[in-house]
Symmetry: C2
Subunit: 335 residues, 2 copies
Amino acid sequence: MSANIRIAVDAMSGDLGPRVVISAALKVIASFERLELLLVGDSAQLEQLLSGFSAPFISRLSIHHAADVVTMNEDPLVALRHKKQSSMWLALEMVRDGKADACVSAGNTGALMAISKHLLKTFPGIERPAICKSLPVISGRTYMLDMGANLVCSAEQLAEFALMGSILARATLTVDPRVSLLNVAREEEKGTAVVRAAQHLLKEDPRINYAGFLEADQLFLGQSQVIVCDGFAGNIALKASEGASRFISKKLEQAFHAGFWRKLMAFWLRPFFYRLKEEFDPARFNGAIFLGLQKTVIKSHGGADEYAFEQALRVAIEQIDQRVAEKIGAQLAHQ
Amino acid sequence: MSANIRIAVDAMSGDLGPRVVISAALKVIASFERLELLLVGDSAQLEQLLSGFSAPFISRLSIHHAADVVTMNEDPLVALRHKKQSSMWLALEMVRDGKADACVSAGNTGALMAISKHLLKTFPGIERPAICKSLPVISGRTYMLDMGANLVCSAEQLAEFALMGSILARATLTVDPRVSLLNVAREEEKGTAVVRAAQHLLKEDPRINYAGFLEADQLFLGQSQVIVCDGFAGNIALKASEGASRFISKKLEQAFHAGFWRKLMAFWLRPFFYRLKEEFDPARFNGAIFLGLQKTVIKSHGGADEYAFEQALRVAIEQIDQRVAEKIGAQLAHQ
């Protein structure tokens, strides 16, 4: 039997506090026999939230006290200097010290990035980790990176992202993931100088199954398993999609709120609309991977509810199970 | 009575050819008494398409022969050098020579940009025009620029776009348009160096009602009347939204194609879905404005149907009626 998977959970960060984290932790641990969760945070609060549970899996949950917490709008550098007793710091320290295999946090993204880099280090040659997310696609699964950690990127950085994304997709999805660069057109000669230079690097890299440029209206078709862009474009693409999705939901609501028959139809149709919302729901795709770190760190959305935090934990489990960080390290060492 | 509005229409460019252009032209000219349309293209074809019409407004339509056409995938520089007898070139020449007030074309964007710049010139200080589009928003109307003409921009360029967009919105929408910069976060200290530098320029400019950074998930709320970004981000934002909208339509279709009752409901609901599609339909917002040129040039989508081309003509009419290019020229001269 393979070894247990141990995840250090920053139980205090995020907008909704430890109650959501504990509920998600209990759900996930009940369904994974090989999972150990190390809950880091205010021990009094955490013990109280866990009191009353007596299922056998409780023995795989442990509480580790942290007196402090990184707030959501704290300056990352301030957190890095002054929050060494925070739940985020101590959870990451457990990963550094080999007490845990991964850390999951719903806290301040900038602080999580800064402290992760400081404690866990990036692989040689990687300046700053990329944030990688799953996209809702018509069929299959697609990873997109960077989603905001590196707003301006060089061609070399984009090529690194492509390689890391490719290793990730190969470990979790398919033997030969298709990799695309996000651009404003599909023609080879179009786009910024950086994107065109990255294209040359990807074409020449035998480790990458380069599938050409991809325009943003193709993002959700699932044709490529890895889509690479700088963090500015990644953020804009995902948020614009969320905005469009909300615009459409709003219009649907308006259409069904006038007249008796329409209201009745809206009632009948509720399950379909619910499913639709869920299909494009960011919560379903919660759990961003910091790629390029020597260890696994998963960032949950700050406002994640129980279901969403559960997804982030599942992403961490998959990363460890498939040894994604180790595989990236091994490939980068062979450059 | 104010003077007639004269629009030179490139009748040959675009994916769907002159039939669509002529249908749209006939519709629009019937509803605007002060409109004259100068149709530029193969006169034999155009005359044939117009033959049989005898309404009085036909006298406000004229045909101007062009022997050549710029193809959709022609290199802009090749078009600039060798397509001086094309419908696009001759239509723009009519604007240069004062025979028309504006040009509308569904042709090759790069060629239209290059020939427009060459024949009509930008205002002093404007290096390259910006492409400005209307967005579908929950309430009101929002302009976004640049949508792809300037992939990489300086802070000064973004500030110029903000000023031009502001003059446009003041002329067509409201006395005091709110202007926002597209960014990955709303906090002043976040984003790229370029976006932050542009923010400083906008804050100091008394001609601009600067409303702060805006994230891409807010694009469709209509809070700001002008949204400014570089052409790469603008393209990504709009296309990602279209992709999301198509993803949702696809999922809706799937939901209503299983089982008798659902199919019946889908039938009843057809008008609502149709309206929904229309609300987010790029065709409804067809007609991109090239801002920064000394004259008015409107780019219709290449695949525009009759309805969409009609919208592009209406955008041109509004631009001339509100003297947008002149107002931009006057404000830029006062810098």
